[in-house]
Symmetry: C2
Subunit: 307 residues, 2 copies
């Protein structure tokens, strides 16, 4: 089992390292809690040691917030329109105390909004590598704490837009009057749909004008207290889809790819039907695939071999 | 100085009691920190004692969250369309251990959304009493933690809509990545205007699709870190006005009344110009005026005397 590459997905709150074989196949995965915002003793060096310890001396590549201003080394963004090959040619090298050289993937900046992403560009690269025979133009939704909407035209990332859906949901549940004094929540599909429809029907006014309904419906006995979080989840995911259509990030009745955690993807797929959209779930491990692809384009691994 | 009425504005986080003379004039004011969510020893009774201690044995009336489910006594809402006279005829009486009888003002519920208010209906009553010779149809904005938009038609409150602008602003500054690691904030009119325009120009997509700009503009060097709160304030107040127009709560180029704290009213007045709206600031003490008006209609004070 020759190791060809060590690939690290290193975000704000997580670190996941992959040992990849000669065709990019995953041989071993390590998940550590050492995100950029929560590091162990010896900081980045300490976290890095744990991530690669005992693994062969292969090239190491990483993406995500590790390359941000608050990361290990700030790697300048590549501006849209940005191809995967451009990202590969803009890797930044960092010589660690450990003796290994670490290559960092740049994020992508859309100067027209402005907006930025770090880590998701690698997932996009992985998705595009997966569908190598697909047309080079597609739209990709990467939901999460900060959902990213990415457009790809002729093989280049042309738009990045961030919607803070996940963070807003967490704040409303934990810190607002809407989430105050609720019993333990239950996953309630009906309440989720009720929130979705409230967002859709808000039209151009938008769902912020209806978010207080989570409370007044409850006071009115039309929403069970334990279902308030499901309602808010539907309202905010619905608002994200409504806004994406209203902003023209996607066309009515569009098909687009979605890359994310299974439970979240499931919610968005359910929501999409209400808006007449079709979401195509990507295979897992898009980050590892993207890092492999970038390493191959940068000649860190032998050419011509693909996962 | 005969005391005709004791009027109490009793919300979630504050209690303000007014001693009013025979024409409703304010003779004395007491501000106490005893909101419904933060009571002293002996709870509501203890807070009430402090609020009225040493004052003559006049009728006592109160509005606000003291009449809510988590208050002293839950007073059912009066549904829209609701006149001030209807509210006066629906006062709930509570005999306190103190020996005094306390009259509580009901809130107003708009079953069409549904939406609710408690306390603001009294400010509306005060405003309508102030403009006794004005037409009985107007729109009123009461900005705050939870902004209320109230329509009055032919002397009746016909619409209540809540937008959580203040609470959302506080959460984004204190609990989100947008407010993380900022230096002490400065009031920056230019950044406020920048946020306002971002909200206006978001069109039907709405400002939630742009709230992450507070971070990306900062990363781009186009927004000073200390000005991020001002930008967010402009974005969220702008979003509230944009949504109110899009939802049809107010007509384009409308004039409407605004009732609130001076600093907040100033921000909204500035914002309104960007949206072609005219906001008319109400005189202060609208709550005391409203409580006087309700007491007069309920014959708790001699008829025919007005502030």
């Amino acid at each position: 089992m020759t190791t060809a590459l060590i690939a690290i997905d290193w975000g704000s709150t997580h670190l996941r390292s992959y040992r990849l074989g000669q065709r990019g196949e995953v041989q071993e995965v390590r998940a550590l809690p050492w995100g950029v915002r929560q590091l162990p003793d010896h900081g980045f060096d300490g976290a890095f040691s744990e991530a690669v310890e005992g693994w062969p001396d292969a090239p190491v590549i990483a993406c995500g917030m590790v390359g941000s201003r608050n990361g290990w080394l700030e790697v300048p963004y590549v501006d849209t329109p940005a191809s995967v090959a451009q990202l590969a040619s803009a890797l930044a090298a960092l010589d660690t105390r450990h003796g290994r050289r670490l290559y960092l993937v740049p994020g992508v900046r859309d100067p027209s909004r402005p907006d930025v992403m770090r880590g998701e560009e690698t997932q996009v690269a992985g998705l595009l590598a997966t569908y190598a025979d697909a047309p080079g133009s597609t739209d990709i939704l990467l939901p999460g704490t900060h959902s990213k909407w990415v457009s790809v035209r002729h093989g280049r990332m042309t738009r990045v837009a961030t919607v803070m859906t996940g963070e807003l949901y967490g704040m409303l549940c934990r810190h607002s009057v809407l989430g105050a004094a609720l019993p333990p929540s239950v996953a309630d599909d009906e309440a989720f749909d009720q929130g979705l429809l409230a967002a859709r029907d808000s039209g151009a006014a938008g769902a912020l004008s209806r978010v207080f309904l989570a409370r007044s419906l409850m006071l009115d006995g039309k929403l069970a207290p334990a279902s308030v979080p499901s309602y808010l989840s539907g309202l905010l995911i619905g608002e994200e889809l409504r806004a994406a259509l209203a902003a023209g990030w996607i066309a009515p009745r569009a098909s687009l790819h979605i890359v994310g955690e299974d439970a979240l993807v499931e919610r968005y797929v359910r929501a999409a039907t209400v808006f007449g959209l079709q979401l195509l779930a990507a295979p897992s491990d898009t980050t590892a695939r993207g890092l492999w692809r970038l390493a191959a384009l940068a000649s860190l691994v032998p050419p011509g071999v693909e996962a």
